[in-house]
């Protein structure tokens, strides 16, 4: 090749490359008008909402799989895939009927066989499902669109179990997929929800794509959380995974993405100052911070030591460490339950309303605390747990406890908290976590409030009073009975310190102003969201 021919071919290549770039940009802009680019709270690393119960999986699953019922913003379960239901006078036999015309993304009709198999898989993993399973004699199809559920005793919370938004939800899958062992991951992602999962574009850790399902028939009622018509106003939703919060905020400002589920609170003032961006509370049910103690070993096997910590605890310290100076983002929480919800109670929560270090020291002295080190296993890769851990270290020292602070990552906390061995032999004394407010509305999915010893959540509290009130709530026949059970439950859990709530906090979401229809809710609801 001589110099001239080289220059000629190089020029042609550059022109072609440039035209390719222009074409790509044009295509991207055309597609961009109907494509919503969303940055979720976390990476969608797997996509089986029964096998993996992380919230990010539940949120994506709500697009792809429909549910039999869906709770609305008043926490009332409303029909979704179900057309009608009847319950026998003795409350033992439930009969359900699917609404007509429901189809899976592969074109096959949704039948009662699919529903029954999906419910069986869900039951194996869900606390409410397990309760129903324990009292069920039959769960079987009647015909293609109906099925029955026969119980040995009434279960008043049946519709809540089928419509709740806590993971795992009753997502309905084709029978062949739902036959997968609930402890194994599914390999096909076929649902009957308003969007299809585009598997060949899924890059775990980077991108997940959903396309509008043309055959989806939304309900006629207006959308309200998981209930009502799930009408999609965009053709395609791209979930762009961004591990760095500053990059995500910059991408939103630059118009490279449309909606951030959880912008970093430090960057919210910058986003609020941008005329093209809306900022508002994301999930009004927020989160409850938790100081989880190990009830099996000293020092926290002693109720007085637990009470001493609760007495010395100042929730404002914890909340400011997590959310900073924005007072809209936190509330003191003298309760285990989500504020602003129908069953919320502060009964027994006086201890958390005013910090009393002197009283805490007195309780600690009475407990016979012998100076055993408190092994605090604190995840540093989660902003909330790191912040709470720093406050806890000072709190424990302030009342005279010896602290052994183990700074680690969340993966290690996840493994170590399952160890029942003594703290000095690979076990632990306390760790921090948080519970989504949506899970703490009532005891139905609130595993952290349970105190049934070996079967309880990490820390294994054993408090029969708590358990009897949980049972009373499940058996409650009306709102008054539910409220009474909740009040007693809160008091019993406070008195025995099942765990120590460190406060209630919220987070913002942010979206560009050309996006309309964004609502606050326990998960990002994409139906009704449009892009101009």
């Amino acid at each position: 090749m001589d110099r001239r021919s080289f220059l000629k071919s190089a020029t042609s290549t550059a022109v072609l490359a440039a035209s390719g770039a222009l074409t790509t940009k044009a295509v991207a802009q055309a597609a961009g008008a109907k494509t919503l680019r969303f940055v979720p709270q976390a990476n969608l690393a797997n996509f089986d909402p029964i096998w993996g119960t992380q919230y990010v999986v539940r949120n994506a699953a709500a697009l792809v799989w429909d549910t039999l019922y869906g709770v609305d913003s008043k926490f009332v379960p409303q029909r979704q895939m179900v057309e009608s239901e009847t319950v026998s006078a003795d409350g033992l036999t439930w009969t359900f009927k699917l609404r007509p015309g429901l189809k899976f993304h592969d074109g096959s009709p949704v039948t009662s066989k699919d529903v029954v198999q999906s419910l069986m898989r869900w039951q194996a993993r869900d606390p409410m499902g397990l309760m129903i399973k324990a009292i069920q004699t039959e769960l079987a199809p009647i015909d293609d669109s109906s099925w029955k559920w026969v119980l040995t005793e009434p279960y008043p919370k049946m519709l809540l179990a089928l419509g709740k938004n806590n993971a795992p939800c009753t997502f309905i899958m084709p029978e062949r997929i739902a036959k997968t062992d609930p402890f194994q991951q599914i390999t096909e992602y076929i649902g009957s929800g308003p969007m299809k999962f585009v598997r060949n574009e899924w890059v775990p850790g980077a991108k997940a794509v959903f396309e509008k399902f043309a055959d989806y028939i939304p309900r006629s009622e207006p959308p309200d959380w998981l209930s009502g018509g799930k009408t999609m106003l965009v053709d395609r939703i791209e979930w762009v995974i961004m591990p760095d919060a500053a990059t995500a905020a910059a991408a939103l400002q630059n118009g490279e993405v449309d909606w951030l589920e959880t912008p970093l609170s430090d960057l919210v003032p910058v986003l609020k100052g941008n005329k093209d961006i809306n900022v508002d509370i994301g999930d009004p049910l927020g989160n409850i911070g938790a100081f989880r103690m190990n009830h099996l070993h000293p020092p926290f096997n002693n109720p007085k030591v637990r009470q001493a910590v609760m007495t010395a605890l100042n929730q404002e310290d914890y909340m400011r460490a997590i959310v900073g100076d924005d007072d809209k983002l936190w509330k003191a929480l003298p309760s285990f339950f989500t504020p602003g919800t129908p069953l919320y109670t502060e009964n027994g929560g006086e201890v958390l309303k005013k910090r009393n270090v002197a009283e805490a020291k007195k309780l600690l002295a009475e407990s016979g605390y012998k100076g055993e080190p408190v092994i605090c296993v604190v995840a540093q890769d989660m902003a909330a747990t790191k912040a709470m851990g720093d406050v806890t270290s000072e709190l424990l020292k302030s009342i005279g406890m010896k602290v052994d602070f183990v700074a680690t990552d969340w993966g290690t906390v996840g493994a170590r908290r399952a160890q029942k061995t003594a703290p000095g032999q690979g076990g632990w004394s306390m760790f921090h976590t948080w519970h989504a407010g949506a899970d703490c509305v009532n005891p139905a999915s609130y595993t952290a409030i349970r105190a049934n010893g070996d079967k309880a959540w990490f820390g294994w509290p054993d408090v029969p009073d708590v358990e009897s009130q949980v049972t009373a709530w499940f058996k409650a026949k009306n709102l008054d009975e539910e409220k009474a059970a909740m009040a007693k439950l809160n008091k019993a859990a406070m008195d025995n310190v099942v765990f120590a709530p460190t406060g209630f906090y919220l987070a913002y979401q942010a979206w560009r102003k050309n996006i309309t229809g964004v609502k606050s809710g326990p998960l990002p609801f994409f139906w009704g969201v449009a892009k101009a």
Partner: protein
């Protein structure tokens, strides 16, 4: 030469086997539990245990290592615990952005650092030399993510010249590909440029004091010719060595750079896998990176023979 290459490739096998054993053992004794991450925070301890059993994580070390090792020998790196996708597929999805980032960084770094180092050596003791040395110190001292944020803020957010984040495959056009990669490449290359420039300067200073350079000058050879033909060629061996060693820097830096610029590459895959304890993915990626590093060193050894005819294998 051919015998040398064959010999080096054969010696790669025990190195890779040792890396495999080391990585597997390290992950085995490291704390953490993927089952707990999969099950979610609300899962009961019993559910976590069932998931652990279903993943085979409760089996003895030797059984797990043996199974994995024999699969690797057959070219199968296993299946991701989280995604249930083959590790080779996950690596395949991520390899293009990382290779693009590293190659562009390498080109930029060499193109900038070598002339800078030569210039500093030529102008040794002057303000030019001091500026280059100061830049090298700065490059070593500033963390990658700080450089990344500053560049993104200036050139993406304020000037809107390039995107803040993401990656566009080369198949969608050279210009979109380049626009996405230029900031990450400069970010990643910062420390690399500093390293190469410093070594180039030191090596050139040494060569420029040799007798044959004085002879060339006295014969009236042009300055450019002295610098780039006579001196640089003789100073090249340490420079090439440091370029090879620096590939390890690039691999480490890619993890941070890909996170800051949301590039879906192998660095982010590694980080995500470590945080979730996705053992097969960590093992697969580390093996690949080790292999690349061994290969790069082989190539460097071969390049020595091109720049210095005295070196023979």
């Amino acid at each position: 030469m051919f015998a040398f290459i064959v010999r080096r490739i054969i010696t790669t096998i025990p190195v890779m086997a040792f890396v495999a054993l080391f990585v597997f053992s390290l992950l085995y004794i490291a704390p953490g539990d993927p089952a707990a991450v999969i099950a979610g925070d609300q899962a009961s301890p019993a559910d976590v245990e069932k998931i652990r059993q279903s993943l085979g994580l409760d089996r003895p070390y030797l059984v797990r290592f043996g199974e994995w090792f024999f699969r690797v020998l057959q070219g199968d790196l296993g299946t991701s615990i989280f995604t249930s996708l083959p590790v080779t597929q996950l690596i395949g999805q991520r390899i293009e952005p990382t290779v693009s980032l590293m190659v562009l960084t390498l080109i930029l770094a060499v193109a900038i650092a070598v002339p800078l180092g030569v210039l500093a050596a030529w102008k040794a003791g002057t303000w030019i030399d001091r500026v280059v040395v100061a830049f090298a110190v700065f490059g070593f001292s500033v963390p990658v993510f700080v450089v990344g944020y500053l560049l993104a803020y200036t050139f993406a957010l304020k000037l809107d010249w390039v995107p803040v984040q993401g990656y566009t495959p080369l198949s969608q056009g050279v210009w979109p590909w380049f626009k996405n990669l230029i900031l990450p490449s400069i970010t990643l290359g910062f420390v690399y440029i500093a390293l190469i420039a410093r070594i180039t300067r030191a090596s050139m200073l040494d060569v420029l004091q040799q007798d044959y350079i004085r002879t060339a000058r006295s014969k009236g050879v042009a300055q450019n010719s002295i610098l780039f033909v006579h001196a640089l060629k003789n100073a090249a061996v340490p420079i090439i060595t440091i370029i090879g060693i620096g590939v390890a820097l690039l691999i480490g830096g890619a993890v941070v750079t890909e996170s800051v610029f949301a590039i879906p590459g192998l660095g982010r895959l590694t980080l995500d896998a470590i945080l979730r304890r996705d053992y097969p993915v960590i093992q697969g990626v580390v093996l690949i990176f080790s292999f690349v590093y061994v290969l790069v060193n082989l190539v460097i050894d071969l390049i020595y023979t091109l720049v210095d005819p005295r070196i023979r294998y």
